[in-house]
Symmetry: C2
Subunit: 596 residues, 2 copies
């Protein structure tokens, strides 16, 4: 499948909506617009030429496990070497360990491209970046000195070892044990499942971050510690030496991302080093999980973009039937199917979800940057709260979007969508994991209500709504946009009221948290994206008013905003009504009466 990064839209989002150069200057990086665009162009070439061509075959070939060794699909090894050699691996890594310290606002665009080109390929490096974050924040100086530089460069990769057969969502049930040794290290024994990249054939060493219990640990989640467990213990020079007592016992046979190895990892008294404080493992892991959740959101977005590109290409080429008001391509035997309103409906759903999702991703990336890099403590705190509010929406909504957009692509292709060689069904299969891992989307929705909405009585959400309201106020002043802005303005008011209603209900009955969660998350996401679409329309209108030479591009933005508000924002209504249906109708049936 061919893939070309949507550079024009990325530049729109980065520069025109979120002023990436000013942002980079504020963070003290030396990136200006020209540099950013140069990097994105190189990234586009790399993903189009080196990564995307591997994706179709990786699905057919998959990973193989023989004698404890995992072979990745043809081409992954060589591409990974290029990925490291060209410095792509170190883009976001901390500067003091050889990283390039790119802000997320820039890096997210590259990462989206990787996801579009091959989700399987990206899985390995994505987790490494998360592991780098956790180790950088919580590891001892000694551990950092020993491991970080090579993980930042990508020479070594990292994994997250959380899940056990009996402990998925519920980490309190975790059983892996860590025994302290005389030399200050630990020995870990236990079995972990669903470990992405737990074993592969393209990095010198694999650094596992493993959750386990110390002998005297409290029960539940308060007794979990985080450990670094290398595949190869380092020798006196810091190079990979003796093989550690851990192995890949099996790889899973999955629906998709078949090029990404998903391993059962067995730790048999493996030498391990404590990361952070004892029994504080979950907090440490959360550093990594927040990043991972943002990255998984980008996976949904990236798959969505790839699916939109595929569907658009096919819809422009495939000749079938005539337009409803008469022939359009009179020189051809039939019209390209893009003339049909229902095909356009699917394409525009894809387009406006993906472009809207990109705005949300960029906005969130900006908050993640400011959380760490803003000048004042206050600004850092504000950004941190905003990012925390948005992460569950980014993770759940962008991955649900990826699945929907991929499914529309299959539908646009008709019967050919079901055939593997065309690539569309692979996108559906690959993206389906993103709704499950790093916390299912149901868990994200619970997080949004419990840890974000209820935790501060809706204050941070109200602040976000206020920000979007001021965008709408500005648009209300533009005659061409006032109709659009009024609809979104009314939804913002409705959203505010709905949040208050949800809070009141949840305080009254804890079951309402889980009864409202998924619908509230989706309701919020649609209104949020509508707000971004108003912002995009404002920006486009200004460029048109200024006589831009790219009139077609900006008019397409206005048309897209119009479509989104008229035909996708209505989904918020059904989520609102369903949520107001309440918890009682969910809890009424006893478990044994669901079927007879």
């Amino acid at each position: 499948m061919s893939y070309q990064a949507p550079l024009r839209d990325m530049r729109f989002v980065l520069h025109e909506l979120f002023d990436a150069s000013a942002h980079c200057a504020q963070l003290g990086t030396g990136l200006d617009r020209e540099l950013i665009d140069g990097v994105l162009e190189e990234a586009a070439a790399f993903t189009a030429n080196e990564i995307a061509p591997l994706n179709r075959n990786s699905d057919e070939e998959g990973c193989r496990l023989e004698n404890g060794q995992v072979s990745t699909p043809r081409g992954f090894r060589a591409a990974y070497r290029q990925y490291v050699d060209n410095g792509w691996a170190s883009m976001t890594g901390p500067v003091e360990f050889g990283g390039q310290g790119f802000p997320q606002l820039v890096a997210f665009a590259f990462h989206e491209m990787l996801m579009s080109a091959s989700l399987s390929f990206r899985v390995y490096s994505g987790l490494t970046e998360g592991a780098v974050l956790a180790l950088h924040k919580h590891g001892s100086a000694e551990l950092k000195a020993g491991y970080l530089a090579k993980m930042v460069s990508g020479q070594w990769t990292g994994t997250m070892c959380l899940t056990e057969p009996q402990a998925g969502t519920d980490l309190a049930l975790l059983r892996s044990r860590a025994e302290p040794q005389a030399d200050g290290s630990f020995q870990i024994t236990g079995s972990k499942i669903f470990i992405s990249g737990g074993e592969q054939d393209f990095s010198e060493n694999i650094i596992h971050l493993v959750l386990a219990r110390l002998p005297d640990a409290p029960v539940g989640v308060k007794g979990i510690s985080l450990f670094l467990v290398p595949k190869f213990l380092t020798d006196a020079d810091g190079a990979p030496g003796r093989r550690n007592a851990l192995s890949c016992g099996a790889i899973e046979h999955k629906m998709g991302i078949k090029g990404a190895s998903t391993c059962v990892m067995n730790f048999d008294g493996a030498t391990a080093y404590l990361v952070g404080e004892a029994n504080q493992g979950l907090a440490c892991m959360f550093t990594m999980m927040n990043d991972a959740r943002f990255q998984v959101g980008l996976q949904g977005l990236g798959i969505g973009e790839a699916a939109f590109q595929g569907a658009l290409r096919y819809a422009r080429e495939r000749l079938q039937s005539r337009g409803l008001t008469g022939p359009v391509a009179t020189d051809k035997v039939a019209d390209p199917i893009i003339v049909h309103p229902d095909v356009r409906r699917m394409l525009l759903i894809q387009k406006t979800l993906v472009e809207g999702g990109r705005m949300l991703a960029a906005y969130t990336a900006r908050q993640l940057d400011l959380e760490h890099g803003a000048e004042s403590t206050e600004a850092r705190k504000a950004a941190s709260k905003r990012a925390a509010l948005l992460i569950p929406i980014v993770k759940a909504f962008l991955t649900d979007l990826g699945q929907e957009v991929a499914s529309h692509a299959v539908q646009v292709y008709g019967g050919h969508g079901y055939i593997r060689e065309w690539g569309m069904e692979q996108l559906m299969r690959d993206s389906r994991i993103t709704q499950l891992y790093e916390g299912t989307n149901g868990i994200q929705a619970l997080d949004l209500i419990r840890r974000k909405l209820l935790a501060d009585g809706g204050a941070e959400l109200a602040a976000l709504q206020e920000e979007l309201r001021s965008v709408c106020n500005e648009a209300l002043g533009q005659p061409a946009l006032s109709g659009l802005a009024r609809v979104v303005q009314a939804r913002l008011d409705e959203w505010h009221g709905l949040a208050a209603e949800v809070i009141a209900r949840c305080q009254h009955d804890a079951q309402e948290i889980g009864a409202a969660s998924v619908d509230f998350l989706h309701y919020s996401a649609y209104v949020l994206l509508a707000g971004f679409w108003v912002q995009a329309a404002l920006c486009a209108q200004r460029s048109l008013d200024a006589g831009s030479a790219e009139g077609d591009f900006y008019r397409a933005k206005l048309a897209s905003a119009d479509f989104f508000v008229k035909r996708l924002l209505p989904r918020a209504s059904s989520h609102r009504l369903a949520l107001l249906g309440g918890a009682d109708c969910l809890m009424a049936l006893r478990a044994e009466h669901f079927a007879f």
Copy 2:
């Protein structure tokens, strides 16, 4: 994957809602309640013990093509022999050709079971039944005498050969040619794609029904004729003799239904016999397609039931986290996940969509029976119109439902949902084809508006709405149901108004047909199912009032109706609002401005 037919719910739908024995008596069949229940129990045993166990392996093994021969997965041959020997193949076949002439209202339940047990296995026999219908209605006495009995028994199978690479939805583009021969037969030359069961290894002969053009045929769909083309020409005794000039050139590698062969069929001057009148092929094929579309709807329903069973089993067993209001299973390390409201939400969506879909399928099956078997011409005409209105809804909505319900099953399983051995992701992959074949769901929606709604100015739809309104009126008289009935009553009024609005818009602008179609179909389906849920609630309430010993069953029906109306019917709102968003926002962008 284990599967047990939902016999109690099937009996509820057949006997309690639609009085199947009276229906069968009216049709002049000898089936009474006891006989029907006996057949369904045998069918349940057959599908659970003989078919369901083949399904998981059939996905891994798939079909193979070697030297023009297709091998089906292990066990399919033997199971098909049993299927024929036990008389399952001939259930709906015409009595004069050895069939058992079962009404669809009874047979649909068995067919749903087959779909649940193995969609791949069912594909072969389902198309044979459609071919029998077409041949029985349109074939000459000679063709019927030569082929029907063995197709009815299942000894020979049938296929539908419509699609060509350049002609999918648009059959006007069809190129296969039929040359008349001196003996009254024809020679067909051309290539057909996506032919389900085009070649397999378990029937003595395969009877292809092929669309092709005669030399002097008018262009477009008015120049298409239907032909019978056997794999083996029959000898003087009517037994399979000389091999005909046709072959399977390739099989497709698909997302799912891997046990069903999907063939490229090459006809190289193959001997063929005209079915029906020259140039009337499309009309003949529609006989088959209507049946096939109903069957594909059942595929969605069957997959949905299998997915619901899988998810429910897992949700009752999987222990993870504690309930939101405190521990429930205090003797266990965690609660079964069915205590969580969001898991219940997913299960209840599955349950009420599937049970609601079953009511819709049964109602439609009844109309299909009456279309052919009602006593008066008037009653037959009325049933025919009603069936024609419902078929596109059954096909599109039940298959969309199958996909959604399967996806919820994957979600309930968490990470395990993504692993092949658990079976849930296979249901998603298998069901995805049902939204595509026999006319994509977008095509069904166009059919609903163009050929059904606009064709009679909404009269037939209004009659259906009137019928549902009288159900609501009855429920309004029951204090326990009046709240439910009032909500649905209001939706029926809204539906009526919306249909009028759609008709007016489409008359004004033909693009509105395609702009409204999919949302109108979904809107209609949700309100329709709500009507059936009111009927189910009425029926359950009566049984409870009569002091039924099955109180739990009937109370579950009331709870399900409540859930559907509170939490699923709201989806109608978003479809209505989206539809009212109109065509202009779909048609505004030029094809070249969808991406830059």
